[in-house]
Amino acid sequence: MSNSIAIINRSAPYGSSHATESLDLAMIAGTFGQDISVYFFGDAVFQLIEQQKPQTKGVKNLSKVIKSLIFFDVENIYVCQKSMQERSIQLSELCVDATLLSNDDLKASINKHSRIMVF
């Protein structure tokens, strides 16, 4: 519990800078050896879609960024089951092997953290 970090993502990708700067933060936290969990909740589940193809040069493909989290020692990636269902997204459409959480599991998981940030 002591210094564990939870980043709750709830913003869709590309429409704003939330996803980009939240993932930057997750990577730095991982690099600094922090105990970190990253949650994809609400519209943020769209960040996990495998088939993203940004059409503008210089716009990062966020699915690739999320896939690279593991190289920064960010291993705990969770996705809200209810948010997926609401948006008709199947597990097979996701770019990473994220842990699907029911509502109760989501609560329990988030509550383990003492530093919680929302993007």
Partner: protein
């Protein structure tokens, strides 16, 4: 006494949240608590912009942070990448892009995100605004 890291991710003028953070910070200090650092990230970096000019009868959050920081020796940390992306640069950044003007100056400090980790690890509480 409790120690805090305050993370500000909302813009200075376009949202009330930075002002809430300022009031929260003032109240915490009045109560005798410690603010390890105020970390400006995401849209919150606009709080550090020296070039924000307000009418004399309007609240100027940038100035309020400066006064509070001077009074209590607070650390006002600004994420360098988030600031640069939003046109907020230090004197050193200005030299690198060959311009004379810069708008990020003391007591605000341009730092990397690692500083946020260090501050959070030292603090009892993190509160985001």
């Amino acid at each position: 006494m409790t120690s805090f890291t305050l993370l500000i991710t909302s813009p200075a003028f376009d949202s009330q949240s930075s002002h809430t953070a300022y009031e929260f910070c003032s109240a915490a200090l009045k109560l005798g608590h410690k603010i390890d650092s105020i970390f400006f990230y995401h849209q919150g970096v606009t709080n550090s912009n020296n070039f924000s000019v307000h009418h004399s009868d309007e609240v100027n959050l940038h100035q309020l942070w400066k006064s509070l920081a001077t009074e209590y020796e607070l650390r006002l940390n600004v994420c360098v990448s988030a600031a640069n992306r939003r046109g907020i640069i230090t004197e050193q950044d200005a030299e690198e892009i060959d311009t004379t003007y810069y708008n990020l100056d003391k007591p605000f400090e341009s730092v990397g995100l690692g500083e946020l980790m260090t501050s959070m690890n030292a603090s009892d509480r993190l509160v985001q605004f």
